[in-house]
């Protein structure tokens, strides 16, 4: 059963140095507040997993919290590069980072296999690309038709962290709008933390919503505005200006570091 707690306590309880941590949310509902709390608590040597690293992982990589990144698209959506990610890969700054990269279809299927507690998922993909030998995928023959397919290994993160619009007092979570891979990520991980915009007495059914029962979640923490500069549909709007601002600010190591100290690391920036 999910414990309703504070974000600081949830991160202290669930995230340790060296863990593999998946903070998911496909453009929408990115758990920025939780990622920032992980940085404030000084977690190190993380294996960060995320389909689209986005600004959040740019920040975590730039602060040196990650030893390894598992991903499928490392850009600033619609704007261009993630400069801290690039600096880490191109110049080992602030530390070298190991990469494991996939396609979106591959990552999505890996999470789904993890959620199903299967060792791998089967798909058509990767073949003929230079990605295939790097991604650790393998050919597999269909036992029924003989078709050659691709097996991708299951993803089983130590910790899943996602953001949603709301939870009730039993820790049942509801999210709507673009659902990404959050349900699969929560079910694939050993431990799960969900931050929410608000705690409500009762979840009101909404079209297309994803509900994750509280008994598969370890901790739920209220974090209003916790997906900014991403957004929580119906509650906050995506701050497209911030995504453009980040492109300029993050090009410079010192400006980046000063900004992070001022806006993320300070105790009163919670």
């Amino acid at each position: 059963m999910a414990e309703l707690t504070t974000l600081a306590e949830a991160v202290a309880d669930l995230v340790s140095d060296g863990d593999s941590v998946a903070l998911e949310g496909f453009t929408h509902l990115i758990p920025f507040a939780a990622g920032h709390e992980v940085l404030r608590q000084g977690r190190q040597e993380l294996e960060l997993i995320r389909m689209t690293p986005d600004i959040l992982y740019d920040q975590m990589i730039g602060m040196g919290a990650a030893r390894r990144l598992v991903f499928s698209y490392g850009g600033n959506p619609g704007v261009g590069s993630l400069h801290r990610f690039r600096d880490a890969v191109e110049h080992d700054w602030p530390r070298p980072i190991e990469l494991e990269e996939h396609s979106h279809a591959g990552m999505a299927n890996r999470y789904a296999a993890g959620a199903a507690r299967l060792p791998f998922a089967v798909m058509r993909g990767y073949v003929g690309t230079d990605l295939a030998p790097l991604a650790g995928v393998a050919p597999i023959t269909c036992p029924f038709t003989g078709e050659e397919l691709i097996a991708v290994p299951a993803l089983r993160p130590d910790v899943a962290i996602v953001h949603a619009q709301e939870a009730d007092r039993e820790g049942n979570v509801q999210l709507w709008g673009i659902p990404g891979v959050q349900k699969e990520t929560v079910l694939a991980a050993d431990r799960a933390l969900v931050t929410v915009e608000r705690i409500v007495d009762e979840l009101e059914p909404r079209p297309g919503a994803v509900v994750i029962p509280g008994w598969v979640i370890d901790a739920v923490a209220e974090a209003p505005g916790g997906s900014r500069p991403s957004y929580s549909l119906g509650i906050t709007e995506r701050d497209n200006d911030f995504y453009r601002f980040w492109d300029k600010l993050s090009r410079d190591r010192d400006e980046f570091t000063a900004w992070m100290r001022e806006h993320v690391l300070r105790e009163d920036s919670r």
């Binding site: 619609g78 999505a108 999470y111 058509r124 230079d130 990404g180």
Partner: protein, 248 residues
């Protein structure tokens, strides 16, 4: 109206390719602008599919990201990423895919991963995203890229996405079910695969562009069709719709 830019011609030509399409898969930037323009001018029923899971989105504004709120709010249905790739992209339900890339080779293979060596890249690019499976599975692919020798290269630094591989027959050998790239729309003209060799061939020039200019912007000895067509210039309707869209 002020003079037409080459970028506007490129967008208008890309939009025209969707006149009879039922559905198109698009990323952000020029592909998205072209697809929204196609809905405005040519094909109001066109189904826009974005990687974020929004199927049948009807954006009034050009979205900055593939996951902007307006896409989810106007979509016929919004699906998870596993569903998008396994139920919609994989089976080839989406007709046309608009793809961009940092590098394109003569067989329409694409690089969006690195410039330089993979282990020590000169420039680390964002990576594959959905492109490899989209290009394998959608019924046809239209590549939209700026025409320059940096983009149109003899050898890719990394093959992220397969067009025609090393030539005819490769797509079948690899088990791909989509037809592959049917056109590359640039700011100078249109390249289409040769029926026999699958090699990209210059088939149309945008107004005011000559073959020499396109050859100089291409990093390999470009095949040119016997008599390249001239792209009909944007009509007043196309141009005013495009400019109005960009001003929104």
């Amino acid at each position: 109206m002020s003079e037409v830019t080459s970028g506007e011609v490129q967008t208008v030509v890309a939009a025209r390719r969707l006149e009879h399409a039922t559905s198109v898969f698009i990323g952000v930037g020029r592909p998205s602008t072209a697809a929204i323009l196609a809905r405005m001018v040519h094909n109001p029923e066109l189904v826009l599919v974005y990687e974020s899971g929004t199927i049948g989105a009807k954006p009034f504004h050009i979205p900055l990201s593939i996951g902007d709120g307006e896409l989810a709010e106007t979509a016929d249905v919004v699906v998870s990423v596993p569903e998008m790739f396994n139920y919609w992209i994989g089976p080839g339900r989406v007709e046309v895919a608009f793809l961009g890339a940092a590098q394109v080779d003569r067989f329409g293979n694409l690089n969006s991963t690195v410039i330089g060596e993979y282990a020590h890249p000169k420039t680390r690019l964002p990576g594959a995203g959905g492109a490899p499976e989209i290009a394998a599975c959608c019924q046809e692919v239209v590549i939209i890229a700026p025409h320059s020798p940096r983009t149109f290269v003899e050898h890719l630094d990394f093959r992220t996405t397969v067009g025609y591989g090393d030539g005819p027959g490769d797509r079948r050998r690899l088990g791909f079910r989509g037809r592959g790239p049917t056109a590359v729309v640039t700011d100078l003209g249109v390249l289409e695969p040769d029926e026999d060799s699958a090699e990209l061939t210059l088939t149309a020039l945008h107004p005011g562009v000559d073959v020499q200019e396109v050859q100089e912007a291409t990093g390999w000895e470009l095949k040119v069709t016997a008599e390249p067509a001239t792209t009909p210039p944007p009509t007043d309707e196309e141009l005013s719709a495009l400019r109005e869209l960009l001003d929104r």
